[in-house]
């Protein structure tokens, strides 16, 4: 055989074609896999928290990027308050919750009201109190309602100008490093889940709760603690939860949070209908009274003034029982020492 043999040339050519074609196939396959075009049942890749990896969401800086010096110290203090609110702002917290219970992943998770999306929105007008709110005003609202400051040792939220606001705000602004200002960002708030046409059902909600929520939050919704009594899963209703003035007490808000974040690590597991049903069930239970209910004011008046046209049970009756009257006042402020002196 010599090189003039046409067969050899063809074989070489064929080998090149074969190898090139094979490589192209591998490349195409890899590309399809990486771009997520291949369904999970073929690729064997679980679709976990796809939303979180969605590149369209803003990426806040990582903890390793917290600077040294006074700025970094304040950012860290703010983060500690955010994660462990009952301890680091304990004087003003009248329940067992922390900011990070609803603002997941230390306020970074999209559709869990991430702080990087909220920061650039303030100051702004809020219908809730009919005035221009600074971020400090907004966080004061969190303490008033979500942290139920009325039952805290101080009995009120941190006063204006308190260091707690400074530390929290520098933490928020640091999370929003490089984020656009006054722009509605993807992943902001809890998102929305359209109210199902047939409304919602407490009975179905109870079943959804037992099946999906009780393993962590307890069959009685009171959360669970570890061996030292440290709260691991937050209470969803009752005296140790957020009060009737909190945003999470509205069924639409709770439904959106649940749909996009719960069960933890399985966002999107529940259907829209299930999310509304279980949110309605959770928000049908009694919790600390709305702090805007001043003495002499009836629940009906508070409903007409502050809860008009909202999706909530406040001021309505379930099985003939008025909802919104509040849980009993604690014997002493939450977190007050048992043994003075």
């Amino acid at each position: 055989m010599t090189s003039e043999n046409p067969e050899t040339g063809r074989t070489v050519k064929r080998t090149i074609y074969a190898l090139a074609g094979g490589l192209v196939l591998v490349a195409a396959g890899a590309l399809a896999l990486e771009s997520g075009l291949v369904p999970g049942w073929i690729s064997g890749r679980a679709k976990v928290a796809q939303s979180a990896t969605d590149p369209t969401y803003f990426q806040p800086p990582t903890e390793a990027e917290i600077p040294d010096g006074p700025n970094g110290d304040a950012i860290r203090r703010g983060r500690e308050i955010f994660m462990n609110t009952a301890t680091n702002a304990g004087e003003f917290v009248g329940n067992g919750l922390a900011c990070a219970n609803c603002h997941l992943d230390a306020g970074k998770e999209p559709l869990s009201a991430p702080m990087w999306a909220a920061w650039g929105q303030y100051p702004k007008y809020r219908g809730k109190n009919k005035m221009i709110n600074t971020m400090e005003d907004r966080v004061m609202g969190c303490f008033t309602y979500s942290m139920n400051a009325q039952h805290s040792v101080a009995g009120h939220p941190p006063p204006h100008g308190h260091d707690i606001y400074r530390d929290l705000e520098i933490y928020f602004s640091w999370l929003a490093t490089g984020a656009p200002n006054r722009t509605k960002m993807a992943g902001a708030g809890f998102g929305t889940v359209a109210k199902p046409e047939g409304g919602y059902s407490l009975e179905r909600g109870k079943a959804v709760f037992a099946e999906n929520c009780a393993v962590c939050h307890g069959a009685d919704g009171q959360g669970q603690t570890d061996i030292n009594g440290r709260i691991v899963f937050p209470p969803l209703w009752g005296p140790n939860s957020f009060n009737w003035g909190a945003g999470m007490g509205r069924i639409n808000t709770a439904a959106a949070f649940i749909k996009h974040n719960m069960p933890l690590s399985q966002p999107g597991k529940l259907t829209d209908q299930q999310a509304w049903d279980v949110a309605a069930y959770i928000d049908s239970h009694e919790r600390p009274k709305d702090p805007r209910q001043k003495s002499g004011m009836s629940v009906e008046e508070v409903r007409a003034t502050f809860h008009k046209n909202e999706d909530s049970w406040y001021g309505k009756e379930i099985d003939g029982v008025l909802v919104g009257v509040g849980t009993p006042e604690p014997e002493r402020p939450v977190g007050a020492p048992e043994n003075e002196g």
Partner: protein, 412 residues
């Protein structure tokens, strides 16, 4: 062959041969074959790394360095801050603060004593009563590390700069042998009269383990071999056999029932579990839940401990993985009944269970929580987190817990 070719044979050959000789495998088929070969080789190369795990284990186990201890500040940040918080504030109504506490002000010797023995019982700090459960760090730290840490804590939170040296700690350690944990603040106040009055410790009635259950654990029964023969005399586990002591009774019972029904698959355990009655299961659960045993686990898989710590404390939300501790408790002590203690669990066991969930071989997690989370973790991540959890101190027994000491064996 002997047959002579006939003309008709020749004609067939002529028609047939050119087709066979020049006919080729269609190119697309070759492409697919080549692509499969490349993909196969690639997969082999990328996945073979994790296979010789036991070899890695053995190698790593050999050379655990016994260097100079880390600084007290570093030890505090890595081992104390998850409960007492980086600023020593503790956790309201749950974990006593160090800042403003009367205890560190008693000096570094008290701190060393608490680190060595741990606390199980009520304790009053700065006017608040706590249901104190602090693990013993005696297995986790050497004398030099305890000395560094105790000196740091006393100086930082108690304004006591006198420090404690390694020899004193060694002496304290020798005297602590067989003493068990401190029975709350009362016992500490008896040893350190400078402390303010402490709540009384009432030793909860410990239900003794029944003869039946004791026999099951240490001798076995009929076909059922003894629990201790694999899980160790103290339920401490070894390698791929899990630590049982400190797991909640309900969790242990659920696993045994799942082995019985086949919901959880393991040849040995389903065989054993099928020989158990409901009374056996309840007795075993209560026994192991109440057992307080120092950790025998160690990070032996060569995992990245820093990465493991991040996964345990913060999670990796981009992978859909929340912090381990967001469900298993802030110190990995577990949350009864569904979330088992993770701290001091044998690293090979933790890693193998994560792999089993990811591969669909274990499927008894509520809401399939662990199945989904494990799938988000790479092999390296599983090793990292298993190693980190193995480096943590064992869960303290509840106040009702029996305290088992090395060598107690049958006399429990």
């Amino acid at each position: 062959m002997t047959r002579k070719p006939t003309s008709s044979d020749h004609i067939v050959d002529e028609k047939f041969e050119p087709w066979e000789r020049n006919g080729r495998m269609p190119l697309p088929v070759v492409w697919v074959a080549v692509a499969l070969a490349i993909w196969g080789t690639g997969t082999l190369l990328t996945t073979s790394g994790g296979a010789p795990e036991t070899a890695v284990e053995a190698a790593v186990q050999q050379d655990r360095p016994v260097d100079a201890p880390d600084s007290g500040a570093a030890l505090f940040a890595a081992n104390c801050a998850t409960c007492h918080q980086p600023n020593g504030s503790g956790v309201r109504l749950a974990v006593p603060p160090l800042r403003g506490s009367e205890f560190p002000a008693q000096g570094p010797e008290l701190v060393a004593n608490v680190l060595l023995r741990g606390i199980d019982g009520p304790i009053r700090v700065d006017g608040h009563d706590y249901d104190g459960h602090m693990p013993s760090f005696s297995a986790a730290f050497g004398d030099a590390e305890i000395a560094e840490l105790a000196s740091y804590v006393a100086a930082t939170f108690g304004d006591r700069d006198d420090g404690v040296d390694t020899a004193t700690v060694a002496d304290l350690r020798a005297r602590a042998v067989g003493q068990g944990t401190w029975s709350g603040g009362e016992a500490l106040a008896a040893a350190y009269p400078g402390l303010p009055p402490q709540p009384a410790f009432s030793s909860a009635s410990v239900t003794p383990v029944s003869a039946d259950v004791s026999a099951l654990i240490f001798e076995g029964r009929d076909d059922v071999w003894a629990c201790a023969s694999c899980h160790g005399d103290l339920g401490q586990g070894v390698e791929n056999t899990p630590r049982l002591s400190g797991l909640s009774a309900d969790y242990i019972a659920k696993q045994l029932r799942d082995f019985q029904t086949g919901t959880r698959a393991n040849e040995h355990m389903s065989f054993v579990a099928k020989g158990l009655t409901e009374a056996d299961i309840a007795g075993l659960g209560a026994y192991y839940a109440g057992l307080s045993v120092p950790s025998t686990a160690a990070p032996i898989l060569g995992g990245d401990l820093k990465r493991g710590e991040t996964l345990a404390l913060v999670g990796d939300w981009d992978l859909g993985v929340p912090a381990c501790f967001s469900c298993h408790g802030p110190s990995g002590f577990g949350v009864a009944p569904n979330f088992p203690a993770l701290s001091a669990q044998q690293a090979p066991y933790t890693a193998s269970q994560l792999a089993a969930w990811a591969g669909g071989h274990r499927a008894n997690s509520p809401l399939s929580l662990m199945d989904q989370i494990s799938k988000g973790l790479s092999t390296d991540d599983r090793r990292a987190v298993a190693d980190y959890l193995a480096s943590l101190p064992a869960v303290p027994a509840g106040s009702t817990g029996a305290v088992a000491k090395e060598g107690d064996g049958h006399d429990l």
